[in-house]
């Protein structure tokens, strides 16, 4: 059978596309030292940079800066599992370019992934995860990656890409259920990653996280958790201009993964503080 070409280059490590032949390994060249403590197992040179990136240094600048971006992703654990929430906007600078872009995606029966940042990079990450599942020889035995494994994999992919100075410009949130225990983790574009009972990326870190710290409990019911996320999303919509009033909530429970239909939230713009926002903000001007 012919090998299926994948987006992984064994020379460049996880998450790096590139010609597989780009690496000089001990198996193809005799003047290369075999893998050792000082040589990567793949046989490539230490600190090897993606050759395609190095070839056009200063010219190839696809995702050096993000173009179409998504804003915050929120996530909380609750009694039955994990809930993730995000809006559906893909911004092109200040233009609302894609209004129904689904930023929450099912990875497998126990894992969901939410993404902010460059949305094309997010779609590429989905390709990586799809390939990982396709290549998984354990799948026929009913095995699938656990949420923690997906999280560990993605943290290595993003960290590896920052090492190549060609980052995947995303903040990811991984949620899932592992042996009945909720799992919630996040990975940033330079590889910083952590797990917590509640998580928010981007503007959500400032706007939603304080609400979570005040109101979140791990034993919340589904109704309470949904209400908390609704309130957090509403604050994000009021105060983050990159957020639209079109949201999705993804849920991982013992029943599996579900990503909701897009919905809008009730908003109220008649608050006195909104009418004259500067009234109570007396400054030196």
């Amino acid at each position: 059978m012919l090998p299926v070409p994948t987006s992984h280059s064994p020379a460049l490590g996880p998450g790096c596309a590139g010609p597989s032949l780009a690496y000089a390994s001990a198996s193809t060249r005799s003047d290369i030292a075999p893998p050792s403590a000082q040589q990567p197992c793949c046989g490539s040179e230490p600190f090897m940079v993606d050759p395609s990136a190095a070839a056009g240094l200063g010219l190839r600048r696809h995702t050096d800066t993000p173009y179409v971006t998504g804003t915050s992703v929120l996530g909380i654990t609750y009694k039955d599992g994990v809930m993730l929430a995000a809006d559906t906007l893909g911004s092109y600078g200040s233009t609302k370019r894609y209004k129904s872009f689904e930023r929450l995606a099912k990875v497998n029966d126990a894992t969901v992934l939410g993404a902010g940042g460059e949305l094309s990079d997010f779609q590429y990450i989905q390709t990586l995860l799809d390939e990982l599942a396709t290549e998984d020889y354990c799948a026929d035995d009913g095995m699938q990656l656990t949420p923690r494994e997906v999280y560990a994999y993605l943290s290595r992919v993003l960290y590896n890409r920052r090492n190549k100075f060609d980052p995947l410009w995303n903040s990811l949130v991984v949620g899932g259920l592992e042996g009945g225990v909720p799992f919630l983790g996040t990975v940033g574009m330079i590889g910083v990653h952590y797990t917590d009972k509640h998580i928010a990326t981007g503007f959500g870190q400032m706007l939603a996280r304080p609400l979570f710290r005040e109101r979140h409990r791990p034993d919340m019911s589904e109704e309470e958790a949904t209400e908390l996320l609704h309130d957090a999303l509403r604050v994000c919509y009021y105060r983050d201009k990159q957020t639209t009033n079109k949201f999705q909530i993804a849920k991982v429970t013992a029943e599996g993964v579900s990503v909701s239909e897009a919905f809008a939230l009730e908003t109220q713009w008649g608050y006195q503080a909104f009418v004259n926002p500067a009234a109570n903000a007396l400054g030196t001007w």
Partner: protein
């Protein structure tokens, strides 16, 4: 983080821009302290993980506990720190397969130095302490910079709160200057309980002034009986 609209990759003169628009490094804060005694070693680290003025997580551990006699503790950039810990954990296991004995503190100290220096020209932005008991059962502390220079000392402090804590340790532990000749004993003669109290005081004080130190401090007390762990809450502000 707010995502910026893409800007042209060239300056006004049309020359390629010299610097990328992002930084591969971050400082996630955290403070660690280690004190070596005649028959013990006290190692402590705060648990707050931050970026800029935001707190990411309040219970993140800085430790890599390799055995009940050997521990590495790392402040700085979290992604580098976790990568370093993964590498060292693997190398620690490989060492035992290769040599059929547990790794000594000295061996791990050298390995950590080499691992950091291996990345000399794209360094791990990490600030490490390697601590444990040496072959004679005495406390051992090795202190590092980001590119692998290291030295065995009687006590040390690394991370965001080091400017606040290190002078206090210098004063309280009354180490003889390493410049005094012939060399004098630099290891503290303080009893274990007093050393632990000193470390607790140091963290409470650092937590008062350093925004990157707070939430809690984990203290590992290493003696020949093994390792004991204490967690002391700090202010959460």
């Amino acid at each position: 983080m707010a995502y910026q609209m893409a800007t042209p990759a060239h300056s006004a003169h049309g020359a390629p821009r010299a610097h990328p628009s992002w930084s591969p490094y971050d400082n996630n804060g955290g403070t660690c302290v280690a004190v070596a005694g005649q028959d013990y070693c006290v190692v402590a680290a705060s648990t707050r993980m931050s970026t800029g003025f935001s707190i990411l997580k309040r219970d993140s551990s800085l430790f890599l506990q390799l055995s009940d006699q050997l521990v590495i503790v790392t402040a700085g950039f979290q992604a580098d720190s976790r990568t370093l810990h993964k590498t060292l954990q693997t190398r620690y296991v490989q060492y035992q397969f290769a040599h059929r004995r547990p790794m000594s503190v000295g061996a791990m100290a050298q390995l950590l130095g080499n691992t950091l220096y291996y990345k000399r020209f794209f360094p791990y932005y990490t600030f490490n302490l390697c601590a444990g008991l040496d072959a004679e059962g005495k406390g051992a502390v090795y202190t590092y910079d980001a590119v692998g220079s290291h030295e065995r000392v009687g006590f040390s402090c690394q991370g965001s709160g080091k400017d606040l804590i290190q002078p206090v340790l210098d004063n309280q532990l009354k180490a003889a200057s390493p410049l005094v000749l012939p060399p004098e004993e630099w290891m503290t003669s303080l009893p274990l309980a007093e050393a632990v109290d000193l470390v607790k005081d140091a963290f409470v004080s650092a937590g008062e002034r350093d925004i990157y130190t707070g939430d809690a401090v984990e203290i590992l007390i290493i003696t020949k009986e093994g390792t004991r762990k204490e967690v002391i809450p700090l202010k959460k502000d």
